[in-house]
């Protein structure tokens, strides 16, 4: 039951964010799908006791892969799909918690939370960059193979 609720809400939330970012109408559903896949990977990994950072890297990697496939299929920039997909992973809650602790003068807790938020946003970026690098390597190798023929 909770899993179904998670699937549903992550889909709707990602699609809604696509709308807020003024993504083209036809890409809203696809953006929602990308976000749903990413969040489910993250959610299942986190629920089975894997570290949050590892779960985030994996999820953002897959988000980027799916976005690149979509981008190639529909000849649009990758960012349209990946932005909406990444939003659920972004440590907004953590950043908020950190800020709240800062202004309440609880600096120890605040630094802890801020460091964690920074780690997670870093790992989102690592996942994205990693999949981009792989994509480039694949494209490069097919190009050189074609040139040899």
């Amino acid at each position: 039951m909770t899993l179904i609720a998670q699937i549903l809400t992550s889909f709707v939330a990602s699609a809604a964010f696509g709308l807020l970012f003024n993504a083209p109408k036809s890409s809203l559903i696809k953006g929602g799908f990308v976000g749903m896949c990413g969040w489910m990977i993250y959610y299942v990994m986190e629920a089975s006791g894997i570290d949050v950072v590892v779960a985030t890297v994996t999820a953002s990697f897959f988000i980027a892969v799916i976005s690149q496939v979509f981008a190639k299929m529909y000849r649009t920039p990758v960012i349209i799909f990946s932005v909406a997909g990444i939003i659920p992973l972004v440590p907004g809650g953590l950043a908020y918690d950190a800020m709240r602790n800062f202004v309440q003068n609880d600096y120890n807790n605040a630094i802890n939370l801020a460091a964690k938020a920074f780690m997670i946003s870093g790992s989102i970026a690592v996942g994205l960059v990693f999949s981009e690098v792989i994509n480039q390597i694949i494209r490069h190798s097919t190009l050189t193979r074609r040139q040899k023929q």
Partner: protein, 253 residues
């Protein structure tokens, strides 16, 4: 000679306009540079250099004559993926040779002036529903769904309203998060909601600079150090505004 000089400036104009539209609407730094280089290349300027920061672009073309450089200032930034997509398709058409310089400039100019967005009620509904969904995703209870939807909607409405009244982004975000905090506390004291923290986190999500934080780290990794740092500063300011607004409410409890 005279003609050639003005031709080079025309190329720069088209490239800068394309870069400006992309950067203003949330395109990534490397994509902006890539697009400008491609356009210049398609018009026959093989050697071009660009320097892209979130607040301005410098672009120069080298040739047989002395190299020419122009600068464009970028003052306001939003996220409008539709425009990024359209610039991308225009640059594809330029690369395949379908557009002359004049046509390309006209199309980009029209795109820059155009405001084709979803209507405000639609955006408001999207932000409200997203707030409720985030509450569930962060393991809140369904009882808190409606309060989060209302608080998130109220927050989004006020940030748009204040953005129109005050041109300072920091201030409007601060006020909006203050209102979110107020609404959330109100709902909880009235007995409509249970977990104050979850409601606030869910409804704050449409304001949180998540995209900025991620883009900042990504730019840093790609070697765009200036862009990365300045985007990080922008994200930090926004996060600080939101945190301060909420904290103001919480400190009264």
């Amino acid at each position: 000679m005279e003609n050639q000089t003005s031709y080079a400036y025309d190329i720069i104009q088209v490239c800068l306009l394309a870069g400006k539209v992309m950067l203003q609407n949330g395109g990534e730094t490397y994509r902006v540079e890539d697009t400008m280089t491609r356009i210049a290349d398609a018009y026959g300027a093989a050697h071009s250099n660009s320097y892209v920061t979130p607040t301005g672009i410098i672009f120069s073309i080298e040739g047989p004559e002395p190299s020419k450089t122009q600068l464009i200032r970028i003052s306001d930034r939003t996220t409008d993926l539709d425009k990024v997509t359209k610039v991308n398709s225009i640059s594809r058409r330029i690369s395949s040779g379908d557009l002359s310089i004049q046509e390309a400039y006209n199309e980009l100019y029209r795109l820059d002036k155009m405001t084709e967005r979803y209507t405000f009620p639609k955006q408001l509904i999207a932000a409200s529903v997203a707030s409720g969904c985030f509450l569930i995703m962060f393991e809140g209870q369904w009882d808190d769904f409606v309060p989060a939807v209302l608080a998130g909607g109220g927050g989004f409405y006020s940030v748009t309203l204040f953005n129109r009244l005050v041109p300072i982004k920091f201030f409007s975000e601060f006020l909006a998060s203050f209102i979110i905090g107020l609404l959330a506390v109100l709902f909880v004291t009235l007995g409509l909601g249970e977990q104050l923290d979850k409601i606030i986190i869910g409804s704050v999500m449409p304001l949180v600079p998540g995209l900025l934080i991620t883009n900042a780290v990504r730019d840093l990794m790609a070697g765009h150090l200036i862009s990365g740092l300045s985007k990080g500063a922008e994200a930090f300011l926004t996060a600080f505004a939101i945190g301060a607004g909420i904290a103001l409410v919480v400190s009264f409890l």
